[in-house]
């Protein structure tokens, strides 16, 4: 007879222990492991085998737990990261992953390490290629993979310091990440928590009406149905006060595919068998405008009645007379450049948990901006914000999209309506359909130069497809004109950018806020100008590089800290060698050509001409614990480590003595959002002030001079200067309400000035600068582009932790590479990680990071922001390298093989 699973129990060995579970037919092993057996170290990123985060060993072989029917594990050995930690391979990888900072956000780390254990068991000393083959099935969006490869092949560890500013040290939050103990958005809730499932529009534009919701609500296990009618406050959210336009639930009309119209809340058992297709809703599709052209056409349906012609907003910067300068220029380069939607594709889909605690609501979810979440929810609930506590979970990648509310309103409304704890996790497709994207761009740009190689006039017009709702679209429209010149001296300049609504998911914040798109146009045209002038592309850029004392296109003059020329200088040896190597290679190769390309970039750190404060609090307890309330969301970039290093240095105590308390709106002050490359700069400056203030408090107790040394041990504080020593017995001091006997709380807000109607003013207190060199190989017959290596020079002012700088640079380059060569989000078409391609471990070549330190007077210890800078020059450097290899200019990204081949044929350069 059939071996029917007469008993629904499935028994197998999990990490060497016999376990039994009763999975439903069709249940994935990943679900059984996480929800029935508590193995939350198994991460789920896609539920489709596309990301590998859920990799476990079954009988020693790596498989995706999300693709294995749970019952198939019966009688077999299943090992997760937790079970492999104590193995020799696991131990080695724990060490090397931390030494190389191979985990950033940590969500892919369990899949990476499990895959690597399997490799090391077969091949104890793998080559780079073997490591890539073994880990090719696990996607990482943060690191750019190079550190992971280094960790797996067992490369020599970088030299570690003790934690002073400028020291490379392991991440302070590293152990939890590499051991799989980090708790992300989906890792908080108990397995029996009510589950929320959102009902979304399958159409880009459709009216809808509901059927019998009450009947559904009466079904066993269904706790509540939520619709717009359940929103007690304002059924709208947004990140910019003047543009709060996105409903929690659409009211009668949906404006993009994937927009939420309702939600179902039920027990895990009921929701496991609930099919959203059964939800009683009737759709009436309406005419949709999907492109900027369609949205601007006469008679096009309006997304928002008050926004004429679907123009959301515009940004403008003008200085001098661009038209006159262009007409007197000796050479003018011009072109139209286009890019599509780009998806953030962090490996952690949005997820969270919420519960009512007395009269208050507590939300645990992944976020980049806890206080903005709190304010947004307060508006939606019609509550004072003090009634809402945001406790951020670990964040499995953000890159801008987790600045906006996503799951939080559903959690809040469901907790409120049911009175019970609730959880939600977006599916990969849901995450891609409903959260923000990088703006598609359509840019028309003219740039002039005179015979002596100096820039002479630039005119920039850009339309950005901002989707259905504003999100950070206004920021993009404002930032782009300020940055579109690049870090160069252009006296006569005019730049206008518009955000245009369409029936697409909202475009919002994504690493660079529109600047990566504008940099493609500007840096590509610079190569045209250099060629027309017969100049070396690097010489041309260096000649025109902005310097101290020279006005930006906004008329802002930095008397110090302008580091772009230093970046170009740093790249020069690699550039000259790359050009020569490529020429030599090409002389001997007919159908495969190599090329080297260069591009510069800059990015203003912090909000554009808006207040931007961060507050840092620290205290010392009677039992001599030094506590730092570090509110800057660490989304993988390393704020927990960097901010602590800055604080410890300013205070004058060893970093090892600092205990971190993370972001939590009840106990940690607002350090602002993790966005705009502002945390190292702004929160870092606040941490420095807080460290100095705490130091002053300590010194004041014994009237010691500023030069005194401080020490902390179990007996208390000890202050010494020259031969004098003061002992401060902390346990005799009276603690305050928070338990601190000494404390400091300091705020830093970077000095900016508003922009006038022509965009003249002081938008940022500092810029960071970067220049990238890309070397590529192009197969002329197939149009394939293979990046061979990058050299990246970054002026970070002062590298607080140099290895973290490398991590940001490598991760940014990987994202820039993806944008340049393979990534395009098409609603309804590339809504999963199978069809939407991000770089794998085999796609990112070696990267040399050259750290340039031109200190900034405002930055803590001279430091500048870095997050977005790492991505901005990458795509244009690649496109310029393709041009150098082939003579062909690509003006639309991604430069897929098909597009490159078409361009080669159009140029007659194909073989």
């Amino acid at each position: 007879m059939d071996k029917r699973t007469s008993s629904p129990l499935t028994a197998f060995h999990l990490n060497g222990r016999i376990v039994e579970a009763a999975p439903l037919p069709g249940e994935r092993l990943s679900h059984t492991l996480r929800e029935r057996l508590g193995a939350r170290e198994v991460k789920v990123g896609c539920n489709a085998g596309d990301c590998g985060a859920c990799t476990v060993l079954v009988d020693g072989v790596p498989v995706c737990a999300c693709l294995m029917p749970a019952q198939q594990a019966a009688g077999r050995e299943v090992d997760t990261l937790t079970g492999l930690l104590e193995t020799p391979e696991g131990q080695r990888l724990m060490r090397s992953f931390q030494d190389h900072q191979a985990a950033q956000c940590g969500i892919c780390t369990p899949g990476m390490v499990v895959s690597a254990v399997a490799l090391l068991r077969e091949t104890p000393a793998p080559t780079e290629a073997q490591a890539q083959d073994a880990l090719g099935g696990v996607l990482c969006r943060c690191t750019g993979y190079r550190k992971i490869v280094a960790a797996v092949v067992g490369a020599a560890a970088p030299r570690m310091g003790e934690g002073k500013v400028g020291d490379t040290i392991r991440r302070l939050d590293g152990p939890a990440k590499v051991e799989g103990r980090e708790r992300f958005g989906d890792d908080i809730a108990d397995p029996d928590t009510l589950v929320i499932r959102v009902i979304r529009s399958p159409h880009p534009h459709a009216a809808f009406s509901f059927g019998d919701l009450a009947a559904l609500e009466r079904r066993p296990g269904i706790a509540a149905i939520l619709t717009a009618a359940d929103v007690p406050g304002l059924n709208a959210f947004g990140v910019i006060p003047a543009f709060v336009d996105q409903p929690v639930f659409a009211e009668s009309v949906a404006r993009h595919r994937g927009e939420a119209v309702a939600a179902v809340v039920g027990t895990p058992e009921a929701m496991a068998t609930f099919d959203p297709a059964d939800f009683p809703v009737t759709w009436e599709p309406r005419e949709a405008v999907l492109s900027v052209e369609e949205a601007l056409a006469k008679g096009a349906p309006l997304l928002h009645e008050t926004r004429k012609s679907n123009v959301m907003t515009s940004g403008f910067v003008a200085r001098g007379d661009a038209a006159a300068a262009l007409s007197r220029a000796d050479v003018v380069a011009e072109g139209r450049f286009r890019s599509g939607f780009v998806e953030h594709a962090y490996i952690e889909p949005e997820a969270g948990f919420a519960r009512l605690v007395g009269e208050r609501l507590e939300v645990h979810a992944c976020t980049q901006a806890p206080v903005m979440d709190q304010e947004g929810l307060a508006q939606i609930l019609g509550w004072p914000k003090e009634r809402i506590r945001i406790v951020p979970t670990a964040v499995g990648g953000g890159f801008g999209s987790k600045l906006d509310l996503s799951v939080q309103p559903f959690l809040a409304l469901a907790a409120l309506k049911t009175g019970r704890p609730v959880r939600i996790t977006y599916s990969r497709t849901e995450s891609m359909q409903s959260t923000t994207k990088r703006h598609p761009s359509d840019l028309t740009v003219r740039i002039g130069a005179t015979k002596d190689g100096r820039l002479c006039g630039m005119d920039f017009r850009g339309d950005f497809n901002t989707g259905a709702y504003a999100s950070w679209g206004p920021t993009v429209a404002n930032r782009v004109p300020v940055h579109a010149s690049g870090p160069y001296r252009i006296a006569d300049y005019r730049a206008a950018a518009r955000g245009i609504h369409t029936h697409n998911p909202s475009s919002g914040a994504f690493r660079g806020f529109g600047v990566p798109q504008s940099a493609i146009a500007q840096e590509s045209l610079f190569d045209d100008l250099a060629e027309a002038l017969g100049m070396d592309p690097l010489d041309f850029r260096a000649l025109n590089a902005l310097r101290d004392g020279e006005p930006t296109v906004c008329g802002q003059v930095f008397e110090q800290g302008v580091g772009i020329a230093a970046c170009f200088d740093a790249l020069r040896p690699a550039w000259e060698k790359a050009r020569a190597d490529c020429a030599a290679f090409n002389a001997a190769s007919a159908t495969v050509k190599r090329g080297a390309g260069i591009a510069g970039g800059w990015y203003g750190c912090g909000n554009t001409s808006l207040p931007n404060p961060s507050t840092i609090k620290a205290g010392i307890t009677p039992d001599a614990r030094l506590v730092l309330h570090q509110g800057a969301m660490d989304i993988g970039q390393g704020a927990n480590t960097v901010i602590a290093q800055i604080f410890a240095e300013a205070l004058g105590l060893p970093l090892a003595q600092v205990s971190l308390v993370g972001p939590d709106t009840d106990v940690t002050p607002d350090a602002g959002k993790t966005s705009a490359s502002r945390q190292t700069f702004v929160t870092g400056a606040a941490a420095k002030l807080a460290g100095e203030a705490l130091r002053r408090e300590i010194l004041k107790l014994c009237n010691a001079p500023e030069t005194a040394a401080i020490a902390l041990d179990g007996d208390g504080l000890h202050v010494t200067h020259e031969v004098q020593r003061h002992d401060i017995a902390l346990d005799r001091m009276t603690p305050d309400a928070e338990g601190y006997v000494l404390r400091a709380e300091e705020t830093y807000d970077p000095p900016t000035k508003p922009l006038d109607a022509n965009g003249q003013g002081h938008p940022y207190a500092q810029f960071g600068y970067a220049a990238h060199l890309a070397v590529v190989e192009v197969d002329l017959t197939l149009g394939t582009v293979k990046p061979l290596r990058f050299t990246a020079a970054h002026d970070v002012g002062r590298a607080i932790n140099p290895l973290l700088v490398e991590g940001q640079v490598e991760g940014g380059i990987a994202q820039g590479l993806g944008m340049a060569l393979m990534e395009e989000y098409l609603p309804g078409r590339t809504e999963n990680l199978h069809d939407y391609l991000i770089p794998t471990i085999g796609d990112v070549p070696p990267i040399d990071t050259l750290i340039v330190e031109v200190p900034d007077a405002h930055g803590p210890f001279g430091a500048k922001g870095l997050g977005e800078h790492a991505l901005i020059p990458t795509a244009p450097a690649l496109l310029n390298a393709i041009r150098n290899a082939t003579g062909v200019r690509i003006r639309e990204v991604p430069a897929t093989p098909s597009r490159v081949k078409a361009a080669l044929e159009a140029a007659g350069g194909a073989t």
Partner: protein
């Protein structure tokens, strides 16, 4: 709803005949992505424990590959050079995780135009063994896959094995896949070639192309044109006429024109690779 794990083919076939919608599953690499986040309706019959569907066996000069054999097993099995193309295809299926779970038979039954396994198996002249309670029939692979996501599998049938016939002496093979990234990538196009030489000339060839038509296709005109050519000087042999059986479409991965041009180049490269490694 039930989950059945039969251990014999007879048990599996009888489970399939039970009333109620039952879906076959082996590696799950297509079943679960297709399911998405919807609940499974009906039950699952897990084929991975069916004895007759396990293993790779040499038989009558050819080979029988069980319907539950994974890509990883292909890679771990010592096979003659005519299987090099199939092994190269195995390495290009998703990732090591997918190769460890996914089966060749599942790849055929899923019948994606971009199925990595089909061109190499077409080039090996594979047949499928279809078992039902009425008996077992065999079909050439080319007749089994009938359209996009369509096969000749009848209700109540299970693809129980693949048969690779005896290959000409000295047959060598290759497989090339073109995609936009290194791993985990859906083909833009792919080509597999099996060929053999006699007396210093190409004596015969089978070439199959995937992702350039609804169903992967052999290129008989190109195969014919190769016969008698000297392998040393094999240059650009593929002409547009040879590609007549293909109907490439334009999509997010590439235009139709691009696919046509890329296939011609890939055919030439696959032939050279089969000949010269």
């Amino acid at each position: 709803m039930s989950y059945l794990a039969p251990e014999t083919l007879e048990q599996a076939l009888s489970a399939l005949a039970d009333p109620g919608p039952m879906r076959l599953v082996a590696g799950g690499t297509d079943v679960f992505p297709a399911l998405g986040d919807r609940p499974l309706r009906g039950g699952l019959i897990d084929l991975t424990r069916v004895a007759e569907m396990k293993g790779i066996a040499a038989r009558d000069g050819g080979w029988r590959i069980g319907g539950a054999v994974t890509w990883r097993e292909i890679l771990k099995t010592d096979l003659p050079p005519c299987f090099d193309g199939l092994k190269a295809a195995a390495r290009e299926v998703g990732s090591v995780q997918i190769q460890a779970a996914g089966t060749l038979a599942g790849n055929l039954c899923n019948a994606s135009p971009a199925a990595d396994g089909i061109p190499a198996l077409l080039a090996l002249d594979a047949e499928v063994e279809l078992a039902s309670r009425d008996g077992t029939r065999r079909l050439p692979l080319a007749d089994f896959v009938t359209g996009v996501r369509q096969t000749a599998l009848r209700p109540g049938e299970i693809l129980s094995a693949l048969h690779i016939p005896v290959q000409p002496e000295g047959a060598r093979s290759s497989f090339l896949k073109l995609g936009s990234r290194r791993y985990l990538v859906i083909s833009i196009v792919m080509v597999s070639a099996v060929l053999w030489c006699r007396d210093g000339r190409i004596a015969g060839a089978r070439i199959a192309v995937g992702a350039a038509s609804p169903v992967a296709r052999r290129l008989p005109a190109l195969e014919a044109a190769l016969t008698g050519l000297a392998p040393e000087a094999l240059g650009a042999v593929t002409t547009p006429d040879h590609l007549a059986p293909l109907q490439p479409i334009g999509d997010v991965r590439g235009s139709a024109d691009y696919r046509r041009a890329a296939v011609a180049e890939l055919c030439d490269r696959a032939l050279r690779k089969a000949l010269h490694g």
